[in-house]
């Protein structure tokens, strides 16, 4: 009898076989310049996608029909769970999330096969995409097959990890991350194709500019949504703990951010060819290394969801990718060597290079802190963790420098800055910085990093104002149109430029949110006798009554807490403890009142005992924490805007005349 499990494995095997054909046909077709073979390989990418889609549909069918003969369903699903939980269970554990990753990869491969312009790079980049696809399909078929058929299926399963079931964000966050990782595979594939075909010019990065932004944008919102998920679920009122899982998601983001900036130097100045190639290789390799680190159990993490046998595969592929890419760069050294030199450090390209160094330094520090426990354990046998103070001590000063450069860089012209304009711009920005510092001080900010961040926010706002003014005012003067009209036209025509300004604004907003919430968080446990009002940070909290509820496989026990401000009841918060199915694990789930100036965050500190006439809660007040999520949305919008079609090509003459408004 054909079971869903067998069908799923068959679909995966078919996808794998097709991907192997696509690689062989694509490579031979490219070497022999055989157009028919190349076309055949290209169309096969669509077939790979269809076969992988079949596997995903089969997995969803097994989850939704509670087919516990499929091992993955038996281990991670539960009849009682609501439908949305069953759907997202596909990526709630290791095997399923590799399946999702592989499937997204085949989808990108198919889209690329259809949309990539017909150039020499196309065949080879499709080959590279399929090689990566083969790796993921092999892992999911042989090492972590979710479709293994159980001879004696259980009647019900334990359900997905409670921490993941506890919040709808879990339906979204992993998908965003994978869309990001997979998106950055496309520029990687084109970079390798450029090396193979001896065309390490700007063609590969122009062709993948949107893919790079797409992948980077998803990685950005993926990381931020992960922070929001931990804020909403983990109950300690924070959003980032320098946990290994967080660190390995941050590393490729840091290198991808560096890449986004350094490719512009190559586009304009034909410099950094090898650097750009290596950066995108590093970005891709870091996603593999990260997956190895957190999936192999070599590093313990509070949210390492499911160790499995895939670690060695990722490590092996990481080593292969790194060695092959480096060999290619060495082999093509004659082509990738830079012929242009940096004219002056104080120039746009100088700033881009500076910000690259900063991002790479942070990547190195985060990597070091993440893997250091491994070295200590290997050499001394001691089990250690690297605490948050290390990461803060290293990355905070570097972030400050990033913010500093972010203000100056966009104002600098390419090649060499004209000192007079620069001096006047810097005067304005320094003024804004000092003003912001004074304002921050007046409003009671005394801690060093929050204060510097506020100052740098002023610096960046002034910079954005000068940039816009430099671009708009002269044009309005020449054309005689109103500033509003010219601004609209500028924003419409210079999508890439304007989009990047919006993204930078988002970064400033996030920096302020982190500085305020990190520096001025109040976190304490409070005893709340039922019926009495207890003061906390300008609020009064009153525990009303304990409650318990049972919905769709979830048992909750919690307390209703009325929140008063100036004798007026403003809301009732319901911190609770959730239990899912038969799992012993309890999930203390906070209840949050979001406002623009601060969040009030209540979580149960201990058990709710109906015999007791009081309850102990953990109350957290974090200023401006919401602005981190808002900043994330601003960054996403800016990225989408920069990607949208219709960006007018730059006109060099304008940038030479008006350095302050120099275009990209």
């Amino acid at each position: 009898m054909l079971s869903l499990g067998t069908l799923g494995t068959a679909a995966l095997t078919l996808a794998l076989a097709l991907a192997v054909y696509a690689v062989v046909a694509g490579a031979i077709g490219a070497i022999r310049r055989d157009a028919r073979l190349q076309t055949s390989a290209r169309l096969t990418a669509l077939a790979v996608f269809l076969a992988a889609t079949t596997a995903v549909i089969v997995m969803q069918a097994a989850l939704l029909t509670d087919d516990f003969s499929v091992k993955y369903v038996a281990e991670h699903s539960r009849i009682e769970s609501p439908i949305w939980v069953k759907v997202v269970t596909m990526w709630a554990a290791l095997e399923g999330s590799v399946l999702l990753w592989a499937w997204l990869l085949t989808a990108y491969g198919a889209v690329l096969a259809v949309t990539a312009p017909n150039t020499v790079l196309r065949s080879w980049s499709l080959v590279v995409m399929q090689v990566v696809t083969i790796f993921f399909l092999s892992v999911v078929t042989f090492a972590a097959n979710p479709f293994i058929v159980l001879a004696n299926p259980p009647l019900d399963g334990p359900g997905a990890n409670p921490l993941l079931q506890n919040h709808w964000m879990m339906a979204v966050h992993p998908v965003l991350m994978y869309l990001g990782y997979v998106g950055l595979t496309v520029p990687f594939a084109f970079a390798i194709a450029a090396l193979i075909t001896r065309r390490p010019g700007t063609e590969w990065m122009r062709l993948t500019r949107r893919w790079t932004l797409f992948g980077w944008g998803f990685l950005t919102v993926g990381i931020i949504s992960g922070g929001w998920w931990s804020y909403e679920v983990l109950g300690w009122g924070g959003y980032w703990a320098w946990d290994p899982v967080e660190n390995v998601s941050l590393m490729p983001w840091l290198t991808a951010t560096a890449f986004l900036h350094s490719i512009q130097v190559q586009e304009r100045r034909r410099m950094l060819k090898a650097w750009n190639l290596l950066l995108i290789v590093l970005t891709f390799a870091l996603t593999l290394l990260g997956t190895f680190l957190i999936r192999s159990g070599v590093i313990s993490s509070v949210h390492a969801f499911g160790d499995g046998p895939v670690g060695p595969f990722f490590l092996a592929f990481f080593i292969i990718v790194t060695l092959v890419s480096l060999s290619l760069v060495v082999w093509r050294w004659d082509q990738v060597r830079d012929r242009a030199d940096l004219d002056a450090v104080v120039s746009r390209e100088g700033a881009f290079i500076g910000v690259n160094v900063l991002f790479l330094a942070m990547t190195f520090a985060v990597l070091l802190g993440t893997v250091f426990p491994l070295f200590v354990e290997a050499t001394t046998g001691s089990r250690v963790t690297v605490g948050a103070p290390f990461f803060d001590a290293i990355t905070l000063p570097v972030w400050m420098l990033v913010l500093l450069l972010m203000g100056v860089g966009p104002l600098l012209p390419w090649r060499r800055a004209e000192t007079q304009t620069l001096r006047s711009n810097l005067t304005w920005m320094t003024g804004a910085l000092l003003l912001a510092l004074v304002l921050g001080f007046v409003f009671g900010v005394r801690k060093v990093y929050p204060l510097i961040t506020i100052g740098l926010a002023g610096w960046n706002l002034a910079s954005a104002g000068l940039l816009l003014a430099g671009a708009i005012v002269p044009r309005a003067r020449i054309t005689g149109r109103s500033l509003g009209q010219v601004f609209t036209q500028y924003a419409f025509e210079q999508k890439r430029r304007f989009g990047s300004m919006v993204v930078h604004l988002g970064v400033v907003v996030i920096a302020l949110g982190i500085a305020a919430s990190g520096g001025y968080r109040v976190d304490q446990q409070i005893r709340l006798p039922y019926g009495e009002r207890v003061a906390f940070q300008g609020y009064e909290l009153q525990a009303l009554r304990p409650f318990s509820e049972r919905v769709a496989g979830r048992n909750s026990v919690g307390v209703e807490v009325a929140v008063f401000q100036g004798n007026r009841e403003i809301t009732v918060l319901t911190p609770r403890i959730n239990r899912f199915g038969t799992s012993q694990m309890t999930v203390p789930t906070p209840s949050v009142r979001y406002t623009a100036s601060h969040d009030l965050y209540l979580a149960l500190a201990g058990a709710v005992d109906p015999q007791q006439d009081f309850v102990i809660i953990r109350a957290v007040q974090s200023p401006f924490v919401t602005w981190i999520w808002i900043g994330g949305v601003i960054m996403a919008l800016g990225t989408i805007y920069a990607m949208s079609p219709g960006d007018r090509p730059l006109r060099r003459s304008v940038s030479a005349e008006a350095p302050a408004g120099a275009e990209t």
Binding site: S300, S382, R383, V386, A393, P588, A607
Partner: protein
């Protein structure tokens, strides 16, 4: 600078008997101490929220001071990992984690396998 930041923020994970062997090495620095909550040692004052108990690995035990309510699954013989530092023989904790691992079963006869305990807490 990196090296110094790294060594000062290293947090060692140890069991009570490891502390007993070389207290000087760990005194004054932040560590993660693992062990079981010793039976009949738990005291909680619900007014000043002072929680005290003994943490043991079957060889050595130390008193623990923690401010905050005992977490939901906190009970005798539960595996715990506490973060903080030793202050004249008492461990002052600011972070208390319950390890509800299915690997380690709380001992019935009082005998604790230290290696197994260590593995289950890591």
């Amino acid at each position: 600078m990196i090296n110094q930041a790294l060594t000062t923020s290293l947090v060692y994970f140890i069991l009570p008997n490891e502390y007993a062997q070389s207290p000087d090495q760990y005194d004054g620095r932040r560590i993660r101490l693992g062990g079981l909550v010793a039976p009949e040692s738990v005291r909680f004052n619900d007014f000043d929220l002072q929680l005290t108990f003994l943490v043991t690995d079957g060889i050595e035990s130390y008193p623990v001071q923690h401010v905050g309510a005992p977490p939901e699954l906190f009970r005798e013989n539960a595996g715990v990992v506490i973060e903080g530092s030793f202050d004249s023989g008492t461990f002052v904790s600011d972070n208390l984690l319950i390890k509800h691992s299915e690997v380690y079963e709380a001992p019935e006869d009082g005998h604790i396998d230290v290696e197994e305990l260590r593995r289950s807490l890591q």
